[in-house]
Symmetry: D2
Subunit: 103 residues, 4 copies
């Protein structure tokens, strides 16, 4: 089962700069060979369910290994059984409506 996820990881009990921790998660996703895109409030990831969630568990583990005592993440998880849809398809679908290319 393919999944599209938005992952936002917040380390608790560290300083206010979160970018070292977000960067560490991006490296996990890259090493796993997953398709992902960073945005201002998280990272969108697409792939097979088990591979994506194994990577997310590893993000939590890597942050704990960096000394973070408490990791809190927010996820949005989408699956479809009717058709295959990529992250790019989702964006294009909205943009075409805004540009009047689709009714």
């Amino acid at each position: 089962m393919k999944v599209i996820v938005d992952l936002c990881v917040v380390p608790v009990g560290t300083g206010v700069s979160l970018s070292p921790y977000v960067a560490a998660c991006e490296r996990v996703l890259a090493e796993k060979g997953l398709s992902f895109t960073l945005h201002a409030n998280g990272t969108n990831i697409e792939g097979a369910w088990d591979e994506v969630f194994t990577a997310i568990r590893q993000c939590h583990e890597v942050l704990h290994a960096m000394g973070v005592a408490r990791v809190f993440s927010t996820l949005k998880v989408g699956t479809r059984s009717d058709r295959d849809q990529s992250m790019g398809d989702k964006i294009r679908s909205v943009e075409q409506r805004l540009s009047g290319l689709r009714p």
Copy 2:
């Protein structure tokens, strides 16, 4: 690694009544023997990471098997490396502060 999750599953492309789908997910969690509590905006679950996420994948699969073409879920995921904390501990910790039992 132990995890505490808040799971909120929204089937897309069905009617406005979501309770049959939420009930189907509760049955999955019960069959897996996980500890969980239903609340007005989701279900709190605690357990080992892999068992919890296997159950969540099965919730998506069960909804697709019920004819839902698109399943969207929102998750909050918390892990700690400093100490073991249950869902009940989290609530008691806040309630003790409100009642003045803790400074």
Copy 3:
């Protein structure tokens, strides 16, 4: 417009104990006279849209006033135009299906 919200506030750049901050938010909600219920991963709130979101802004303000430099919160927001539904109704609706009282 009535709204049912799940609010989960995470202060960033403080220690690992979040309960003083959650308790401060509960006090804001109580002072506003809103109906709310604490659960293991957040607080469910119901009320008029503007009153609920004014209270949530005040939660962020109170945490900053307590010295938290960065406040991150996750919200689930539900509105209906077809009928009035309370937080208790939502839970009962699922429980009735699980107990077999509704088909």
Copy 4:
């Protein structure tokens, strides 16, 4: 108080195509003159707290006016009291670490 929000609106009780509803929300944000960016799992918005949340209420209202009986949205909400940070700053901060430009 400035806020950076990730808004993901899911209409319940409609078909599986969500893009007409997401496009309607984008038009609300554009009319309000807010700074926003569409991504694969939502829309990032930055602006003054009250303006952003007035726009989000209007998104719910517009969807109900389009005939959607039930609207469910997920929000991530970030505020800072220590410094001004834009959505672009957040992304650059992570990218600089990944490229080795920051330690």
